[in-house]
């Protein structure tokens, strides 16, 4: 299945625009953790995961085909 991944802030590769949607092929019911490793991102660098607008608190959360998944490092502001 395919999911739509977006990386932000320091998680974007150099030269890549933050939030550029990217299709990633995962096994059926692949998890957030699978996506992070498919993207080649250090798991510890990912602090916040948002799946289809919902904050995901579990790395073993299975994804649905076509899910919009956003990955962020630790960020703050006001």
């Amino acid at each position: 299945m395919k999911v739509e991944a977006r990386t932000y802030a320091s998680l974007s590769a150099p030269g890549e625009q933050a939030g550029e949607p990217r299709e990633v092929e995962l096994r059926e019911a692949g998890t957030v953790a699978d996506l992070i490793s498919a993207l080649g991102i250090e798991a510890a660098d990912v602090h916040l995961v948002i799946v289809d607008g919902r904050i995901s608190h579990r790395r073993d959360e299975p994804l649905r085909g076509g899910a919009r998944v956003a990955l962020f490092p630790a960020v703050g502001g006001g």
Binding site: R6, Y8, A9, S10, S12, Q17, A18, G19, E20, H47, L48, I50, G53, R54, I55, H57, R68, A70, F72, P73, A74, V75, G76, G77, G78
Partner: protein
């Protein structure tokens, strides 16, 4: 820190008084809210002679405590009619603290229009100078010259109101100089600039030459605390050097809130903005890099800040356009006005800084005006003209300058996202329930800085909660108590990201304060002090006539579904009423 300076604008006199013993261990927001509560009749007209504008540096402001140069400003709000505390990062309060002045109380009003005056405070005392020649100007044209006249930015910091304050507009903020002497740091919300304008006070220049160090009762305890805090700030991914705040600024939140469906767009019609990535902190970083030719990290707004979240946006030719485009301002003119062009957002931000306007209220007002047919969402050029019109004080400009609620009434708009007359900031309550509760009950009107529940609800700081879960009563209360304490210390609220996650950092803050004052405070005193502050503010608002009916979100949010989650505001009124019961 032992004196209170009372400035009477009726007869233009000033006198120093000892700090009343009841206030012996109060400072910052605790002291400004105490003075407003105890001295300002709650039913007075906020622009009349009985209102007062009060300034107070925090407990540790002026010391070596990191990130502690905040000044608290209080009064009865011309925008909400309730109590107001707004604070800013600036060397101004630091100089006041070093002069041993724990509070400045500006009271009275000239009986007839007596023009504008300014105040000069230094080690020798206080003097009034005529200030009519300073009026009607952009703050960037007026403030540096004024600072230069008194020895330059190394010697003085300036507090001033802009033309919006001169015209007594509800969206007028109080401006302070930043570390570079730019007139850009605001105690922005609630119209306190109008209250100063109503008293004919245009500016206050503070020169701390010759001042002694801020006395510290227990130096060992203070130093221990300060080091613990510095360690926490230096370690946490959000606050450390080149960490999230330093690299991307607060505007890094644009993409997060957009992904979470909580970024209010086009006057709170949607929780997602299709132009979010173009205006976010990452785009500011990338745009600056392209225009300046190197990575531009953010800078401290005020002396002693080791977080340094304040950004600068550059023009195409690499010259400075504006500082700082905060998340709130970026959102207010960007997503909320449907504008996805950073140069236009920067110009709107700059104009608000020039005219002395609160960016959140003005962005919200423009959005309501667009809803009322005054202009079209996304037309940045027209938005810029409208903000100029505020400075010209045309009839339309005066309506806009008085904020979103007044503008909604003038143009028949029922969808005004406000609480107690203050426009909501950049978090959608229908998608983030705890912040909605905070907006509802905050003594300030809709205000995210009253209790930043976004930390656990969205950012995964100090816990991980589901933003859509409406059970947030305790959260809303506890965050407001902790915040009222931090606002009294003189620290910037952004230390919260580190100290909510790293307990020793929070202990350090308490030890710093106890060290300065010579008290035996522990972590157990944080909520006690926070509650004491809130109780004063709640009591003032009750006396001013506010009831539970004012602690409500606007009606349209109860039935209008917000995409993408399609939720409505569903927190029961009884739960809201329990927050401070």
């Amino acid at each position: 820190m032992d004196r209170l300076l009372r400035v009477n604008m009726t007869d233009r006199t000033a006198k120093f008084e000892p700090i009343p013993s009841a206030y012996a261990s109060r400072a910052g927001r605790w002291l400004t809210s105490s003075l407003v509560h105890d001295e300002v009749p709650a039913t007075c007209h906020p622009l009349g002679p009985r209102n007062k504008v009060v300034f107070s540096p925090g407990f540790v402001t002026g010391t070596a405590a990191p990130t502690s140069s905040r000044i608290s400003v209080g009064g009865k709000s011309p925008l909400t009619g309730g109590i107001k505390e707004a604070n800013a990062g600036t060397g101004w309060g630091r100089r006041l603290a070093r002069l041993g002045i724990r509070a400045v109380v500006v009271e009275g009003q000239p009986e007839r229009d007596g023009g504008f005056w300014m105040l000069k405070i230094d080690a020798k005392g206080v003097s009034f100078e005529p200030a009519d020649a300073l009026t009607g100007k952009k703050l960037s044209e007026m403030v540096p010259g004024l600072a230069a006249r008194y020895g330059g930015r190394d010697k003085v910091d300036v507090c001033a109101i802009g033309v919006a304050g001169e015209h007594k507009m509800g969206a007028a903020g109080v401006c302070f100089t930043d570390r570079e002497g730019r007139a850009t740091r605001y105690a922005g919300r609630g119209g306190l600039g109008a209250a100063l304008g109503s008293k004919g006070l245009k500016a206050i220049v503070v020169d701390d030459s010759g001042a002694a160090e801020v006395p510290i009762a227990d130096k060992a305890k203070f130093d221990q605390g300060r080091k613990k805090l510095a360690a926490a700030l230096g370690e946490h991914a959000i606050t450390k050097p080149k960490g999230a705040l330093n690299a991307y600024g607060t505007a890094v939140l644009v993409n997060i809130l957009n992904e979470a469906g909580g970024l209010p767009t086009r006057n709170f019609r949607s929780g997602r903005f299709e132009g979010a990535t173009k205006i976010a902190g990452e785009a500011i970083f990338a745009g600056n890099k392209e225009r300046v030719g190197k990575d531009v990290y953010n800078h401290p707004c005020s002396p002693g800040c080791i977080i340094g979240c304040s950004n600068t946006w550059h023009k195409r030719d690499g010259s400075e356009h504006t500082s700082c485009i905060e998340y709130e301002s970026d959102w207010a003119f960007g997503a909320n006005c449907g504008i996805d062009d950073l140069d236009q957002i920067a110009e709107l931000n700059l104009l608000c800084n020039e005219y002395g306007l609160d960016t959140i209220e003005i962005g919200g007002t423009l959005a309501v005006a667009a809803e009322g047919g005054v202009w079209k969402f996304g037309d940045g050029k027209r938005a810029i003209e409208l903000v100029r019109e505020i400075a010209d004080a045309t009839p339309l400009g005066r309506i806009l300058g008085n904020g979103a609620l007044v503008t909604g009434r003038a143009f028949g708009v029922t969808r005004v996202p406000h609480v107690k007359g203050q426009n909501m900031p950049a978090y959608e309550p229908r998608a983030i329930k705890g912040i909605g509760m905070t907006y509802a009950v905050s003594t300030m009107g809709a205000d995210h800085t009253s209790g930043y529940t976004i930390a656990p609800e969205i950012l995964g700081v100090s816990g991980k909660l589901d933003p859509l879960n409406p059970q947030k009563t305790d959260l809303a209360r506890n965050f407001q108590y902790a915040t009222a304490f931090i606002d009294s210390t003189g620290h910037c609220l952004f230390i919260a990201f580190a100290i909510l996650d790293i307990a020793s950092g929070f202990e350090g803050v308490v030890e710093e304060c106890a060290g300065v004052l010579g008290t035996d405070w522990t972590m157990n005193d944080v909520a006690r002090i926070g509650k004491a502050v809130l109780d004063l503010e709640l009591d003032f608002n009750r006396q001013a006539g506010f009831t539970a009916a004012d602690d409500r979100l606007p009606e349209f949010m109860l039935h209008e579904k917000l995409p993408p989650h399609d939720g409505v505001w569903d927190v029961p009124d009884e739960e809201i009423d329990r927050v401070f019961d």
